[in-house]
């Protein structure tokens, strides 16, 4: 599989370089007045954590503050998972942990000792796409592509949740089975924002995959 950033000067390299330079020249903002803050200034702490990423065991030394998202991107260089809002509002960072989709930006890496994590890199490869990836290509379920890895991880997990009997806000009955209808897909995908507005094509892609499974 091709590794992102293989070219001599990649866009990522330039961006990372400018960010580092900016960080060096930025004076840290004064801390907010926080209730319950420690009396003494705490020092950064690192801890060891082992994660099973896309089937491979990886052990990392991370600052306790490192989110799962930053561990994936910055420590493991799995940059398929995107940072959008970093506050759980946009869904760009969605990954599948122990079979469940979560916002990797709102979880600490150290909270995931031993967990099996599937990122977009683990769903499929350019040569062998996951059916959901293939359906997104077929139905043009993106424009700029930034939200797409999160959309696809979420989409795969949504079809699993429907099958597993997880109800949604638009389910007519709580006790019957749940179907991958357009209304259900739209509601269940509401935690993934697409500013290009590819929503209708994303619904088509998911409907296609859901139908193929039935």
């Amino acid at each position: 599989m091709q590794t992102p950033g293989d070219t001599a000067i990649s866009r990522r390299g330039i961006l990372a370089g400018s960010a580092a330079a900016a960080a060096l020249t930025t004076v840290p903002l004064a801390g907010a007045d926080a209730q319950g803050a420690a009396p003494a200034v705490a020092q950064p702490t690192t801890m060891k954590v082992s994660l099973k990423i896309n089937g491979t065991n990886r052990t990392l030394d991370v600052d306790t503050r490192t989110t799962l998202l930053d561990a994936l991107r910055e420590n493991l260089h799995l940059t398929g998972t995107k940072k959008g809002c970093d506050h759980g509002q946009c869904g760009a960072c969605t990954v599948i942990v122990e079979g469940k989709r979560i916002n990797s930006c709102l979880s600490l890496a150290v909270m995931h000792e031993g967990d099996a994590i599937t990122t977009i890199e683990g769903l499929g490869t350019p040569d062998k796409l996951h059916p959901m990836q293939a359906a997104f290509v077929k139905h043009d379920g993106y424009q700029c592509g930034y939200c797409t890895p999160g959309q696809i991880c979420s989409a795969v997990a949504v079809l699993g949740e429907i099958k597993a009997g997880v109800p949604s806000h638009v389910s007519a009955s709580l006790t019957g089975g749940f179907e991958a209808s357009t209304a259900e897909i739209r509601e269940r995908m509401s935690g993934n924002i697409c500013r290009c507005g590819a929503y209708s094509n994303i619904v088509d892609a998911m409907t296609d995959v859901a139908g193929a499974k039935a």
Binding site: D33, A34, A38, T94, P167, L174, E187
Partner: protein, 320 residues
């Protein structure tokens, strides 16, 4: 984010002890609200005690026919539980009306009860906020208050408790089980769990320092038609302007609690006695002491109309 140390406790008693032992410690469960606030440095714990290994992730029947929901049970697991969907529909409905699928997969039962307000002045660290910095004042009073509280608020704070799940738990008369750092356990009725702000809006619940929620107990099912009706600015993934949790019986009696308007799920047994007289009477009792702002006075008629919609829906279901 401020630096912190981290540990995983092995038992509920050890977790409570660990938090009490070090100043500035906090429990972390799902982390979906706490980490958001830590990134903004609204919360800055020096030490985190992770409660994921405490085996509080089960839903078990109680001796009197109810359910005991472990504190660490996720929102998705609780909403999808077959017994909850069958016997406590209002709870399933309330949970899936909140947040997103990703957040519900991580957010826990106890954490949801403890989620902090979404008042924009609480979130903006440049603004005065008695909840974030006691004694600093309240920039929301006289500010932009469309989302904020209309009843049970005070001169110190007009924020709301933002959650949905707790509104259903209040209507079901759930109770909260805890353990404190000395190993003492107690049960707190939902009615007494969230506090009115008064002069100390930074104290939000009845929990004492280091006290850990271990479970939420649902009494045995009461039947009836279960409805959760949430009114919000978007069709999905938005906080309530007003929400109504209701269990309505065949004879028209029932229970109702309102979300999105107060520091806690807003329920009054005296108001429920008015149910046979209609939404206007119920709403008038619930909101008799309301002090809305210019921006959020619309919530008064919205409560009445949402109640009316819920009662009409209950009538339709009953008649079916």
């Amino acid at each position: 984010m401020k630096p912190f140390t981290y540990e995983r406790a092995k038992t509920p008693a050890d977790a409570a002890k660990a938090v009490a032992a070090r100043p500035g410690s906090k429990f972390i469960a799902g982390g979906t609200n706490l980490l958001d606030l830590m990134k903004l440095e609204i919360e800055a714990p020096a030490h985190l005690v992770d409660v994921q290994d405490l085996k509080l992730d089960r839903i078990e029947p109680t001796q009197d026919g109810g359910l005991r929901v472990g504190a660490f049970v996720t929102n998705t697991t609780l909403a999808a539980d077959e017994r909850v969907r069958r016997d406590y529909g209002v709870l399933s409905r309330a949970i899936v009306a909140g947040a997103s699928g990703q957040l519900r997969n991580k957010a826990t039962t106890a954490g949801n009860l403890l989620q902090r307000t979404r008042c924009p002045y609480f979130y903006d660290t440049n603004q005065a906020c008695n909840k974030r910095k006691p004694g600093s004042g309240c920039a929301a009073i006289g500010g932009y208050s469309r989302q904020l509280g209309i009843v049970g608020t005070s001169d110190a704070c007009i924020a709301t408790y933002p959650g949905d799940m707790a509104v259903a738990m209040r209507v079901l008369d759930a109770s909260i089980e805890t353990i404190d750092p000395r190993g003492q356990t107690r049960t707190i009725p939902m009615a007494d769990f969230h506090r009115l702000w008064g002069t100390t809006p930074h104290i939000e619940t009845a929990l004492t320092p280091g006290e850990l929620i271990t479970a939420v107990t649902l009494p045995k099912p009461i039947g009836g038609t279960h409805i959760y009706h949430k009114v919000r600015d978007r069709a999905s993934y938005a906080y309530a302007l007003v929400s109504v949790a209701a269990v309505i019986q065949r004879d028209g009696s029932g229970r109702v609690a309102i979300g999105g308007i107060a520091p806690k799920p807003w329920r009054m047994e005296t108001a429920e006695a008015q149910l046979p007289r209609g939404a206007k009477a119920v709403s008038a009792t619930l909101l008799a002491d309301a002090k809305p702002t210019h921006d959020n006075a619309f919530k008064l008629p919205l409560v009445e109309r949402t109640l009316a919609a819920v009662m009409a829906e209950a009538h339709t279901v009953k008649g079916a």
